[in-house]
Chain length 581, copies 2
Amino acid sequence: MKDRHLLVDVALGRINADKVVVNGEFLDVATGRIRKGVNIAIKGERIAKIGNIDDTIGSETEVIDAEGMIVTPGFVDSHYHIESSRLSPRRHAQLTLPYGTTSLFEGSHEMANCLGLDGVKYFLDEAKDLPQRIYVALSSATPPTPFERTGGYIGGAEAREALQWENVAGIGEIMDFTNLFGHEDRLWSVMEAGLEAGKLLEGHATPEPPEADAFMATGISSTHFTGNREQALALLERGCFLEIKARDSRDALRGLVEAGIDWQMVGICVDDRPAELTRKIGLLDYEMKIAMEEGLDPVTTYQLATINNARHWHLEHDIGLVAPGRYADMLFVSDLEKIKIDKVFTGGEMVAEKGKLTANISIPPAPAYVRHSIKIPKPLTAEDFQVEAPHYDDTVNAAVLPARYFSDDLAPITTTLPVKNGFVQRDLSRDINKIAIVNRHGKGLGVSFWKVGYQRGAVASSVLHDSHNISVIGANDSDMATAVNRVAEIEGGIVVVNNGKILAEISLPIGGIMTDRPLDEVVAALDKINMEVDKLEPSELGEHPVDSQTFIFLTCFPWGIVLTDLGLFNTRTGEKIPAVW
Amino acid sequence: MKDRHLLVDVALGRINADKVVVNGEFLDVATGRIRKGVNIAIKGERIAKIGNIDDTIGSETEVIDAEGMIVTPGFVDSHYHIESSRLSPRRHAQLTLPYGTTSLFEGSHEMANCLGLDGVKYFLDEAKDLPQRIYVALSSATPPTPFERTGGYIGGAEAREALQWENVAGIGEIMDFTNLFGHEDRLWSVMEAGLEAGKLLEGHATPEPPEADAFMATGISSTHFTGNREQALALLERGCFLEIKARDSRDALRGLVEAGIDWQMVGICVDDRPAELTRKIGLLDYEMKIAMEEGLDPVTTYQLATINNARHWHLEHDIGLVAPGRYADMLFVSDLEKIKIDKVFTGGEMVAEKGKLTANISIPPAPAYVRHSIKIPKPLTAEDFQVEAPHYDDTVNAAVLPARYFSDDLAPITTTLPVKNGFVQRDLSRDINKIAIVNRHGKGLGVSFWKVGYQRGAVASSVLHDSHNISVIGANDSDMATAVNRVAEIEGGIVVVNNGKILAEISLPIGGIMTDRPLDEVVAALDKINMEVDKLEPSELGEHPVDSQTFIFLTCFPWGIVLTDLGLFNTRTGEKIPAVW
């Protein structure tokens, strides 16, 4: 508490401030007013005094002129996944601090599925001395469902351990609705540990009544929301704090404005954003502009991104306000509505100016415990991907899935496939290809047939929500093996192969899903991958086939039928489905 | 989590609700709207579902008709002292549930100063199976200041222990400004324990800048507020959650309404209220009516007493809203603005109707550990109260204090007093009387002269904020001894004596400050005490001399000079002052 002693001493005029901010206007997010004549005195990392701070200025005090600026709290993202940027936390901070995000709540289940609690710890380790505050929402989804095997297991005991770690703020993103509503032991043990520790349970997605009631009845406090006004009001009325993803929720924002609601139970978040997209459109600043476009007044919009998110996470004594006792995380904004951020401060230090990083954020080598996370004991061969015919006919029945299948009725997706030498064959003329999910810890693989396109080659990726096993889609078994083996060689990443040749790749050696290489290099590699993939004709996977490949195997939401390293599963019933019969 | 499993099952229509509430209007405090057609399904103690709940009604389901009523959350008092009612927690619940207070945050330092952590534990023990939720704010004030000795000691280690107990919600009422701003070890260790446990620090009173800055810089989150609009806005702007005591803060309420603030950082509380006054005016309902008189709209007023207080204490997943997952603590209100409470429910059970308690709240014998808390080893005698003259003159100088003294300048209160047989004498002609604070744990006493009136007799009380040692004011030493000895005999309480005869008394055997006797009996005893005291002519102690006697020895606020069991102290400097010289 020594740092707080010094704050008291500054406030009472016993010692001088390290820095003061003068001449700016002041956005008081507690009452929702903009005020003049509120200056700010800083000691160490925190704010000591606001208002009339003249008596804190000594000869050593740095005076920062905020003439023409409105001083606001730094932005707090209430629900975020650093992994989605493909960048390590420190590289990610370099990218994102200029957009004003001084604190974020990291979902953590991606890395937890790669590395167990080590994956969670990694964020906390990286955050040390980092001028961006990373709070962790402990993974509730390790494994995401009982239908797949991942690199970690977080049950009640593991959760209780991690909830003691500093900056673990709660339980993240409870999303396995089948098992949530099915009272599944592991998931509920984690939730119980969270409530016992006095921490929050974060939910996922946009359930509607009566699922919205069941969702809140579990003890969950919040969700990151995409949806319409009716869905938003139904969740709010049920006591759910809404972390609105504005660009997917314009109708909800407009509707809440029109309903004239009290906004205290609403915040704003980004959730997932690839680094290259952040560079194009921004982060919370972008979401906030959308909220204002939908009629939300600017002051409330800033509250959503600051005090409201901080209060939701029960951290309003540290972040979300420019006020005594809080970290001196501040933005100088020259235009409130356009969110023109002139300067960004974290812990009293300027870290970005006019969109450019000014902080010196070192990139030390990634710790050994996050490297070498792909552990396939010996290289795979084409034979590993063969599917034996279950009988001696020329054809077999097969469940041929489209990219996402929102039903558990097999009839519409059952077709026949040819058999050759006792093995079931693709039918590329009908865009029917083979997909395998290879357990990245050497525990085997599941194979089935999907209508996803690709006329040649194979694409393998160790980014695979949320298990982060290795998915591979291939027009021939040999390229599938080559692609997976190369993913393993480069410690995880994305690899494009044709005729045995590596056409493009990116190594993501941190947990197999992130890299600490510079952003430009990462973007170039991803661009090359996307270009080469397009040449393989992935006709059924939409505009971003590699991104689709990372998302279509989610088991947490009851789509219907999905492939895991254990085979095909009906996620609604937990029943295993044969690939062919 | 089994109870939450059942809630999920009700929400999803798998099993029926225990009870449903239908036909009422619904106060949605999350968005601040009143809605129709929102019915409520209850399972066990909690709410399972709201909205359309028809599918939860089975033949066993109790249907509660709320026709003509608005259903609101039960009131949550964010800062309260049960002890001020003089009633035990269970007796207090009998009195207060009809006023709609279903949850309260108990300050706990009174009992902690009587009994240490046992005094804190008592509230939690009494709350078991009680249909009023008692959350404890752990005493920061045991002892209140280093200038006095009490029956307990809560430092960092003790705080860390108690913060693990269920329903200990934070650190209560940090009020020793001298030692707060002086970085005193014990107090700051307790605060550190609170922050480390992820709990709130509650402040006290109404500091103004720059003390308001220093106050918030310590990590404190809130204060129970009495003051004007400028003081309110200054604290809010500094990120302080305001628990407004409405009847002492009309200008602040009016001013905040006029300023058009966002009210999310404002709640409402009662703090202290004698039982007989509660019966006359009410509790939060009374404070809320004042807020509405000052222009606050009714819906916001209810938010202050429900969701806002619950969110401040980080307990919005349990209390403060009528929503799935929360305790079914509800009020049926027939007139929102007049706060006509027709029915009160706690945990789904009706506990009061039309102002009458309907719950069966048993009063088991007070546990042994809160009894016999006055431990004076042998009866005192008149000699114990004699003040020796420091020299052989006929008169001495004496600091003769008025009831409250807001200065540390001795000159205005220095007078001469006669000496007889080597002992300094009172001067009743000038209303100068003797006061002693007797350490209730047998560790001696402090004596000095005060200008408080009383022409005869003595009044002793073991209710003495915040040490709860025994204060005795007396016109003669013999009556003083008799009064204190009787207080000890009856295990604490208030005793009025004249000429060696007990004129009136009340026994407060629970910690020496509370009783579990019925309210009517308590009020009758207090009435008798007040009547007999008036006959003794306490000319200088205001309208309520016995109440004044319990408050004028507070050491926590830097009044100036005050008497403790260790003698006279300057509370601003910590310096000890001789009573006579």
